[in-house]
């Protein structure tokens, strides 16, 4: 990359240097010269529609648009010459000709790019005397979605929104209808939006045409304070800006505006579930049960009861199980792991979201996984059963950008056709739970072609053989197949030159929390003096409680009850315990059972670092005003010193955590160099791939808008909750089930009644049901996200 040719050019008399292919706008920005832009956006392909960026180039007969012109050797550019100034004033005048002067009520007012450019580059006076274009109410203010507000009168036709929908999100849901001054942005036939409602169109809109409808008319931008934070709702772990109003209440969440790849966009859950932790269900006061009496205490006073509880836990060493979920920061996980080993002296440190493959993935790929840059520069992307739009939308955006902007080839494999399948070159149907088989047969086919393979499979083989830079992305279902899949994919990656692997677990800080808490893997220092033979999954803990070998449980995280599979069984098991200590941000049945419930900060209030699935190290400062109490890591630090440990500052924990990560990375790299035994990938076929004769595979996952119970708790996204069973249309025809019919789903001895939606996008023999659309009681038979279940569909639905 270093040998990219550079060209010299002069902008406004300043001589500068830029790589070949860099656009003039970017070259000017680097030396601090501002060229106004509307249609141009650093993450979108250049368009040149609005003409506001016109600049004068010496020897060029006409003014040229700086947002589409790449730098050239010896170019002499003027951005403030009289001609340019006059042209810009003219453009601004034309843009304002039909723009209503409703800035006082427009929610964009104050952060409006049109406002800024008009003040800086406009004439300051209007000569326009005619009647402005005014769409009648039907189109001027169409209500396309409850979370987005549309005022087409304000549109300046830069098409950023439609391009972001096509090039980044890949939805193609909105478009510019009509032409000339009648042009407007809308959906097909002005129907309600059925896209994933990411709100990125509102994010990039330079005017108030599309704005965030959840805060419509509620406040003004200058009253809001942006607080940098990190979203913990999926493993993309995007940086966010959480905006609080004058009272410190969170009013909206936006993406940070930055040149980095990971910025500028957010998904629906990141953007609209901010209200989840503002509601009634938030745990704001702690409770402790002493001699059958429940006492409440303030969060600020939680240290004393916690110390007492931990002293009780520490009395009986080794009898405590520590369970955490992925919505905790690295520092918190690290301290939890350390306290478990040094104070509680227990080997049972168990993550709630457990994919058996994760430990071996972390062992092999820490620091070596594909990064966002790898995805964007790849020429071949292979999605192995990865419903990215549902599980980790931001990684899905990277894939879409690679395909739609950089022309990467995309192939998808799995039992579901996702949004990415429609932009891919081919989709290979592969049964759930059989991703390993696919990878193994791909490795075989790379050496010798099989004659009986499908056309799609052969296309994938050809593409892999011809790829220069390949990225393989696998979702949470393949991860659940266990270490054998990881070995298989490692073997594939070692056979294809320049290939990278990315596994996408569903939960927020899954990778970081597992590494830092040291579950199931070797940890330097404090981990070594405790036996390694602890429980590794939550089922083990449940069994041990029932057997009586575990007498205390410490649960740490957020939204914990949602992660406990088979809640009724857990409930009876918890009744046996001597101590049940829960650190949760939400009120639930679990917190009411706890002998000590401590309120903690939520998914965007927390403080600490996060390791994203793409291997990025994100830092949340926890500086949001109105956050509940102090951060958990500081509480744990104080707790440790109260219990006889050395006093340590938060900053030193941060550096220890970082060092620990480096240690893991170097270990993973060593492991690769040591063992060239990648061929030892298990040749045994996995058990998946053949559903029972009258049963169907039930694929479960969370619908896009949801993360655990977040959406049920938030008002904005909860209204889109869709509880229906997605079913293959051919299967449905065979079973004589029509679209929208109600059926009963029998899993084990439990039944659930759901409506059917038939689709061609799911493999024959499979169904999809959104886990989060079910109540906790209905959910109890699920074996966790990722594991396919066998279910029987009873049509008719008569209860």
């Amino acid at each position: 990359m270093a040998d990219i040719a550079k060209v010299r050019l002069t902008i406004d008399g300043i001589s500068t240097e830029a790589e070949k292919g860099v656009l003039l706008v970017e070259a000017a920005r680097r030396i601090g010269i501002k060229i106004p832009v509307f249609c141009s956006h650093s993450k979108l392909l250049p368009l040149g529609a609005c003409r506001i960026c016109l600049v004068e180039i010496e020897k060029a007969p006409k003014l040229v648009t700086a947002c589409t012109t790449p730098v050239g050797e010896g170019m002499v550019v003027f951005t403030r010459s009289a001609r340019v100034v006059k042209a810009r004033q003219g453009i601004v005048e034309f843009l304002l000709a039909n723009h209503p002067l409703d800035c006082p009520i427009c929610d964009q007012g104050g952060e409006c790019e049109l406002q800024d450019v008009c003040f800086e580059f406009g004439r300051g006076k209007s000569r326009f005397e005619d009647i402005k274009r005014n769409f009648d109410n039907k189109y001027g203010r169409i209500k396309l979605s409850p979370v987005l507000s549309w005022v087409n009168n304000r549109c300046i036709h830069c098409e950023r929104c439609t391009r972001v929908c096509h090039q980044v999100v890949g939805e193609d849901h909105i478009g510019m209808l009509n032409r000339g001054d009648k042009a407007m942005i809308s959906t097909f036939q002005f129907t309600q939006m059925t896209c994933e409602l990411c709100g990125n169109c509102a994010e990039v809109c330079p005017t108030g045409t599309i704005t965030n409808g959840t805060v419509k008319y509620k406040d003004r931008v200058w009253n809001l304070t942006p607080n940098p934070s990190v979203c913990l709702l999926c493993s993309s772990s995007c940086a966010t800006r959480v905006w609080t109003d004058l009272k410190g209440k969170v009013t909206r969440v936006t993406a940070p505006k930055d040149e980095q790849d990971c910025c500028d966009f957010l998904c629906a859950k990141g953007r609209f579930s901010f209200d989840a932790d503002q509601g009634e269900q938030r745990l704001r006061e702690g409770t402790k049960i002493t001699s059958e009496v429940a006492e409440t205490f303030q969060q600020s006073e939680s240290l004393q009861p916690t110390v007492q509880a931990f002293k009780a836990l520490a009395k009986d060493s080794g009898s405590t199980a520590v369970i955490y979920n992925s919505r905790i920061a690295n520092e918190e996980a690290y301290l939890v792991g350390r306290i478990a080993r040094t104070v509680l002296k227990t080997p049972h440190v168990v993550p709630l979201e457990n994919h058996e493959g994760l430990t071996s993935y972390l062992d092999r790929f820490s620091g070596r996984q594909s990064t966002s840059k790898d995805i964007l520069s790849a020429d071949l992307i292979l999605l192995v059963d990865a419903p990215l739009a549902r599980e980790t939308p931001m990684i899905g955006y990277f894939v879409t950008r690679a395909v739609r902007q950089k022309g990467a080839a995309l192939y998808t494999v799995g039992p579901e056709k996702t949004r990415h399948s429609s932009m891919g070159l081919a989709h290979h149907w592969n049964a759930p739970g059989a991703s390993k088989d696919f990878v193994l047969s791909l490795i075989e086919a790379l050496q010798s072609r099989k004659s009986d393979a499908s056309a799609e499979f052969n296309k994938i083989v050809d593409a892999v053989q011809g790829s220069r830079q390949m990225v393989i992305i696998a979702g949470s279902r393949p991860l659940a197949e266990g270490p054998a899949f990881i070995r298989a994919i490692e073997s594939l990656s070692s056979k294809v030159a320049n290939s990278k692997v990315l596994m996408v677990p569903e939960g927020g800080n899954t990778l970081g929390a597992m590494l830092m808490a040291g579950s199931g893997m070797r940890v330097p220092g404090w981990g070594s003096n405790v036996s390694q033979n602890g429980c590794s999954v939550q089922e083990d803990v449940l069994g041990a409680i029932e057997k009586g070998s575990i007498k205390n449980v410490l649960l740490i995280g957020e939204d914990l009850q949602e992660g406990l599979i088979n809640w009724p069984r857990w409930k009876t098991a918890f009744a046996k315990l001597a101590n049940l200590v829960v650190f949760d941000a939400f009120r639930s049945e679990l917190t009411s059972l706890a002998t000590l419930a401590v309120p903690v900060r939520s998914f965007h209030e927390f403080e600490g670092s996060v390791l994203s699935a793409l291997g990025e190290w994100k830092i949340a400062r926890g500086s949001i005003p109105g956050a509940v109490g102090q951060s958990m890591s500081r509480l744990l630090l104080k707790l440790e010193s109260e219990l006889g440990g050395a006093e340590q500052s938060f900053a030193s924990v941060t550096s220890e955590v970082k060092k620990l990560y480096q240690w893991h990375v170097s270990r993973a790299t060593e492991a690769v160099e040591d063992k060239k035994s990648a061929d030892s990938a298990g040749k045994d076929k996995s058990t998946g791939g053949n559903p029972g004769k009258d049963g169907v595979f039930l694929l479960i996952g969370n619908d896009l808008y949801h993360s655990g119970a977040m959406t049920l708790r938030g008002a904005h996204l909860g209204q889109f909750l869709n509880r229906s069973l997605l079913m293959n249309s051919a299967d449905a025809e065979k079973m004589k089930i029509s679209n929208d019919a109600r059926v009963q789903l029998k899993i084990g001895s439990d039944k659930v009644s759901v409506a059917v939606r038939t689709t061609d996008d799911i493999m024959s023999g499979c169904c999809f049901l959104a886990l989060n659309s079910l109540s906790p009681d209905e959910r109890r038979w699920f074996g966790g996200i990722g594991k396919p279940l066998t279910a029987v569909i009873i049509s008719g639905g008569a209860a």
Binding site: D172, G175, L177, F188, Q189, S729, D760
Partner: protein, 164 residues
């Protein structure tokens, strides 16, 4: 989700054939829309949806293209589509007067259809025949150097032709 088909077998086959003619399916969009309009008279939402399904492109792409060009109609149109050019050259030579004359004569406004379903009046931009302005295009036929008188005879002949 599949919606019910609104196209005849022939129309579906034609569109699929058009799709096969181009390397990119989207290139077949305008010919396909023309073909649909030929058969259905105008483009209704369901037709556009089905075109999108047949070509395998997002429905919004079809609607974008369909609404961009004035040659596609989204409401039922009359038997004769009278398109009067009101662009610069034609306007200077009386195009706009012709339009208002027709509005008066047919008793309808620009974009409307007569109650007998014969004529739809549309004021359009340049028809590309400035050298013989003013130009009126009725369905696919150009009528150049039109005067009010010439237009009246044209309309009455069309009317009597339709009656026959």
């Amino acid at each position: 989700m599949k919606s019910k088909t609104v196209f005849s077998e022939k129309l579906r086959a034609d569109i699929l054939q058009l799709k096969a003619m181009y390397p990119i399916a989207q290139s077949a969009l305008i010919p396909a829309l023309h073909r649909v309009q030929e058969e259905k008279g105008h483009l209704e939402p369901n037709s556009m949806l089905e075109v999108a399904q047949l070509l395998g492109i997002p429905p919004i792409e079809v609607m974008k293209t369909g609404t961009f060009y004035t040659m596609f109609h989204h409401k039922p149109v009359g038997k004769y589509r009278v398109q009067v050019c009101v662009n610069l050259t034609c306007s200077m030579l009386g195009g706009r007067h012709l339009l208002s004359h027709l509005e008066e004569k047919l008793g309808i406004k620009d974009g409307e259809t007569t109650s007998d379903g014969l004529f739809t009046l549309i004021g359009v931009q340049c028809l590309g025949a400035c050298h013989e302005a003013p130009v009126v295009q009725i369905n696919n036929d150009y009528h150049s150097l039109v005067s009010e008188k010439k237009l009246d005879t044209l309309l009455s002949s069309l009317r009597s032709g339709a009656k026959r």
